[in-house]
Symmetry: C2
Subunit: 649 residues, 2 copies
Amino acid sequence: MSEESRVTFYPWEKVVDVAPDTTLLDAAEREGGMSIESLCGGEGMCGTCKVIVDEGEENLTEPSTADTQILSEDQLERGYRLSCRARVQGGGDVTVTVPPDSQNTGGIVLTEGEELEFDIDPAVKKYHVKYPTPTLHDNVADLERIEQALADNYDLDIAAVDYEVQRELPNDMREREVEDHLEATATVYEGRELIDLQPGYEETAYGLAVDIGTTTVAVYLVDLKTGETEAISSILNPQSTQGGDIMSRMRYARRNDDGREELKREIREGVNECIDEVVREAGIDREDIYEGVFVGNTAMHHLFLGIEPDYVAGSPYIAAREAPIEVKARELGIDINPSGYVYWLPVSGGWVGPDKVSVLLVAGHYDEPETTVCIDIGTNGEISVGNEDEMLVTSAPAGPALEGAEISHGVRAQAGAIERLTIDPATLEPTYETIEGDAPNGLCGSGVIDALAELFATGIVDQRGKFRDDLEHPRLRENADGEDEFVLVWAEDAAIEDDIVVTQNDIRSVQMAKAAIQAGTRVLMEELDIEDPDRVLLAGAFGNYIEKTSAMTIGLYPDMGLDEVVSLGNAAGVGAKLVLLDRNQRPETERIIDEVAYYEIAGTDIFQEKFMESMYLPHKDFDLYPHVEARVEDRRADATRAAQKGSDD
Amino acid sequence: MSEESRVTFYPWEKVVDVAPDTTLLDAAEREGGMSIESLCGGEGMCGTCKVIVDEGEENLTEPSTADTQILSEDQLERGYRLSCRARVQGGGDVTVTVPPDSQNTGGIVLTEGEELEFDIDPAVKKYHVKYPTPTLHDNVADLERIEQALADNYDLDIAAVDYEVQRELPNDMREREVEDHLEATATVYEGRELIDLQPGYEETAYGLAVDIGTTTVAVYLVDLKTGETEAISSILNPQSTQGGDIMSRMRYARRNDDGREELKREIREGVNECIDEVVREAGIDREDIYEGVFVGNTAMHHLFLGIEPDYVAGSPYIAAREAPIEVKARELGIDINPSGYVYWLPVSGGWVGPDKVSVLLVAGHYDEPETTVCIDIGTNGEISVGNEDEMLVTSAPAGPALEGAEISHGVRAQAGAIERLTIDPATLEPTYETIEGDAPNGLCGSGVIDALAELFATGIVDQRGKFRDDLEHPRLRENADGEDEFVLVWAEDAAIEDDIVVTQNDIRSVQMAKAAIQAGTRVLMEELDIEDPDRVLLAGAFGNYIEKTSAMTIGLYPDMGLDEVVSLGNAAGVGAKLVLLDRNQRPETERIIDEVAYYEIAGTDIFQEKFMESMYLPHKDFDLYPHVEARVEDRRADATRAAQKGSDD
């Protein structure tokens, strides 16, 4: 009996003993937890199963013709081999590394260290095809020749070819002749449409995850083979010049003849600007980007696509469509491969758009037994409440205050922005941290929430958010407009020429924003008869940075133990990336639309009533917030003790 | 028992006796040979089943709400009724006329009086939909509302919506409100894509059948409801400035940087010019044209679509694709509804293009037991030979001589063109007929063929096509270039200043053209072992006008009794119209591709050999043409008798 070989696979560090003549690909498949890509099913066609032989090359068969044709000289020298061709022999040990682009699973790290695992199975795939050179006796047409090769080698039955690809196909398919046949790389979308044909063997393929927020646009360039994010670019949504909030943009669209077209052009140009930047940063060819998966709220969805937004803007808030949208990039003027696609996740209903669907996909709580409150904090707060049995989703018009906008000294999350702030309950002196440690220039979103929480916890403002009348302190003063304000940083310590303050109006703005979210949450909880949810998930580009205690102190989410509050990071963007890398998530997003019911709160009496109660800190009924009540009591007791200690000294 | 009513249906003049309460629609369905359109299945939704009540209105129920909503006041006054709503009562007689747009069968008259019958079932259909006005409690999205209505009323499950239609859909779907619901008309392509949404009830829908010949472009505007051709426009193919034949255009494309783009632009502009004309002539809105079905040879197909034509131009003559092509009109810049489609019939192989597939569809001989030779006469002659068991098809490079082009006095088929010509065998004096009886200005295609046939039959030219050396006649002379020529019309009788002549070179051109077709035919006959085919079908815009005897005399098609030679008219254009009006013909054209084998003759020795034999009149082997031999003998005998009679006098 022949001797077995021991093969060790990195990065998994798994060891497999196999009989002589076993391929490395088969060896990997013996053991769970390892997965090597192999589009052609181990036929030596696609090159996707390549591995690096670290040790024991002498215990493998010689490189095959497929190896020398598909792998570059440089790769061959560095020990690359097609794992479907390399067979063990002679019984010696072999050690191989499976590089990221040959692994077919990926992971995305969420904020709190949790990793989201998924299969790398993008809608866009590249297939290496070989086909006979045409002759008088073999006069099958060009496209049909490519189709036949895809069917023979990959069992793929493509139904369509992009019109633009068709035009140059006769040239492209003939450029690389090897012996008696031709070869090329076919890029196929969703297993059904040929969207590129390149001579020879090509494997580069990128996609974009695009998150269009009312305030911020973020574009992630993702390698479709490894799942790695290669570059990120973000800008202020260029539509902001037509209004910071959605409603003012909607009004702009309605009142100006060319308004809708202008908003459409602005946002598309903004996305293209980000694309230019990621292309430059990663040093890639934009023709290699074949898809952009887009998320955003319903208004951004409509405005980006140039769809009439008027009816979703007012009661009864009807979206133009719910189903996902798939449009050629060239139809929208998005500067990626013109035959590639823009894919928008579906709309759940009314204001609850693709961004919330994306958050739900990442959160996954519609499939779990625990009752969960999931809040995506943004200019519109999207809220989902429930569990696997029933889940409701709604959208609350928070406005931009929680992101630091429309606040006297609000700034974007930039160097010098105050992101953490505490107030000493005894002295009422603030302590703060800024981004990158620079001298402070204002408050970003998390700083704003901290400020209000601390003003309340230390008793500087009361439950209604009013500055205490009876307090005398050098930092509490009346400004030129006759409005009360609290000085957080004196001008001498600031990077700006003024004192950094929080005014009574600022507090009012933050109260209204949090009240919208809190009221929306409470409407859904009441509708589902939930009093104490099991946990809270926080999403939103800015959700990462919020101090959970502060957010709970002002009542942004229901009172509970902090262990049950989990931050998902920028879940909307992560969801877009997930959908980009794993096409099986697409039907899943449509399932979400079916599983989750949209509940319209806008204009309802119950929302109005709960909104008024939620203007209080943390809520009109303080009993609903026992953890907050305890904390506030502790802080104030500390202050009292400190004051006594001070007077004792 | 209640009394039956007798209903008479025009135009079929069929009589049906039905029980009280039967609808007119049901009554019509009792009897075969009558077919009333009813898209919604008799639910009073679509309005397609309307009829005109000529007599006995009092024996029908009163007009329903559906009648008053769907039919115009003018129609109601003229006696229109929805046949699905009108029920007979009281036992009296009723007489109705089913107007053409409510009948769902159509017919196209071929040249020789034969009518091609088919179902009117176009890819483009309009559906009248009603759906509830959205409210806070019914917040289904706009598109999904339309989809639901199409599913409920028409059992139609649309998978896609055109991106451009989507953009204005929220406005268009709300424009017409009737009581508590909204209504609109949805235009659906192939039962799967929404390509238009119009407020209210609309029924106008047109399509184009477009025949792109190397020489002539013809556009037919067709009413998709009645099947009637409403207007026709044709122009000289604008690419002709880059060469009259395909090969010179191909060279132009190859040798000029922008050549391919220029040829593409020219032909598309030419088609748009024709569209402008039919739109103007019929007085319609071009937005109501939703589809153009295109035919043409492979080169025209590639050049129109902007596909690289280089590889189909030279050996081994490989087409870029065979499958039919469906592209949005806006992608090609064709001036119909931008969300509509351009549909090209499939390519059979090499030079045998969509035009020949269209001819085969109309000829239908691939499905019949008789062995048939079908020739589509054009700048490229497309030939099919065989029967239901086996059929071969090829393309022969005839050049434009048979169409009167590149001949000294060749003209297009216009007023004054000589279309019939005979030569008196005794006096050698020609007699001719011109188009519209004007004074002659040249020879069109049929005149050219007549001229050569008569010159041969009367012995003025010999079997090799050479003017007889020994003949002395005032009409036979040597021209300034030292070339022999025969005067058909003296300048004094002509509309031009010169004598109208046929030169030795003209004869050579016509011989080469007919030899290409004849040789192509004989190669296929030999390949299939056919000596005497059962019949000949002649197609081609100009096939109509050929004098069959003349065409056989020069050997253009195999020798046989004239009864077995049938002219199909412009079968390519007819086929395009058929495919436009009956979508079931689309899979049929793909079946043709499978049933009929392409045989490449270009560059083969056997074609070259048969071409040389076919340069003779009618063929090197005169025995193959017994009917022609007999005729020529008769003519010459007549001449001899006449000469004798003359000398006897």
